[in-house]
Amino acid sequence: MGGLQIPMEHVLALAGLLFSCGLMGLMLRRNIIFMLMSLEVMLNAAALAFVAAGAYWGQADGQVIFLLILTVAAAEVAVGLGLVLQIQRRFKTLDMDQANRLQG
């Protein structure tokens, strides 16, 4: 077992803090571009935890899962930014509280 020189708990704590930042941003911001950025931060924090675990046990699996998270992030951003363009055209705003038509 190669292991990290730094304690594993510190890396996981950093990943948790980054994830909480993203979650707070997602809940507090109402601009859809910032909500997408928060999603990116959250996915990135999860990837950091995976790579740290892979490095801790000296296995390649962590980086493989990182690749899959990268794919998910790219797909999510492509569709999300297409939705941003549609919302901007229809509602003339990026404020998500204005786009509440589904509530009836």
């Binding site: 020189q5 510190h10 890396v11 993203g22 950025m37 990182f66 690749l67 797909a75």
Partner: protein, 169 residues
């Protein structure tokens, strides 16, 4: 010494993320978000995952952030966009992200100068990642390709309607 580099990069990642998500201006937030991704890439490099670090910069900070830049620049066209662009080129806002990015570059140079070059005892090489990816994780690769295809179709559908309607007016 590697531990110190790790904690500095982690601090930069955290501050840049908080700064990014509390900006009012989306373009300024993007600069901080790119610094945050670069900091995470340095963390990957220090943890003995150079392949993941390279992909983080190429795909996250390169491709995905450029998509964000495209959309932000598309959304504020016209006179307001011109004045905002002059305000962006004013320079003051670039100083702090520039200092952060310079710090990360310095860390990277220090880490590469060091013989071991990584905090982790053993570096997981790209070859091992490739063998694992196309061995036990082959099904996941297929699922990822289907996901990318569906994202491509979805993004094309959303974007095509946008462009056609704009052209009709």
């Amino acid at each position: 010494m590697m531990e110190v580099l790790f904690y500095i990069a982690g601090f930069v990642a955290l501050t840049a993320t908080i700064a990014a998500l509390t900006r009012a201006n989306a373009a300024h937030a993007l600069i901080y978000l790119i610094v945050s991704l670069l900091a995470v890439a340095v963390l990957f490099f220090l943890m003995g995952a150079p392949f993941a670090a390279a992909l983080e910069i190429v795909i996250y900070a390169g491709a995905i952030m450029v998509l964000f830049v495209f959309v932000i620049m598309m959304l504020n066209l016209g006179d307001a966009g011109v004045s905002r662009e002059q305000q962006l080129l004013a320079g003051r806002i670039w100083i702090l992200p520039g200092i952060m990015a310079g710090l990360l570059l310095l860390e990277l140079l220090l880490a590469m100068d060091n013989a071991s070059g990584a905090t982790s005892g053993n570096v997981v090489a790209p070859k091992a990642v490739g063998i694992t990816l196309f061995g036990p994780y082959l099904l996941a690769v297929e699922i990822a390709s289907m996901l990318l295809l569906s994202a491509l179709v979805g993004a094309y559908h959303l974007g095509r309607r946008f462009i056609v309607r704009r052209g009709e007016h």
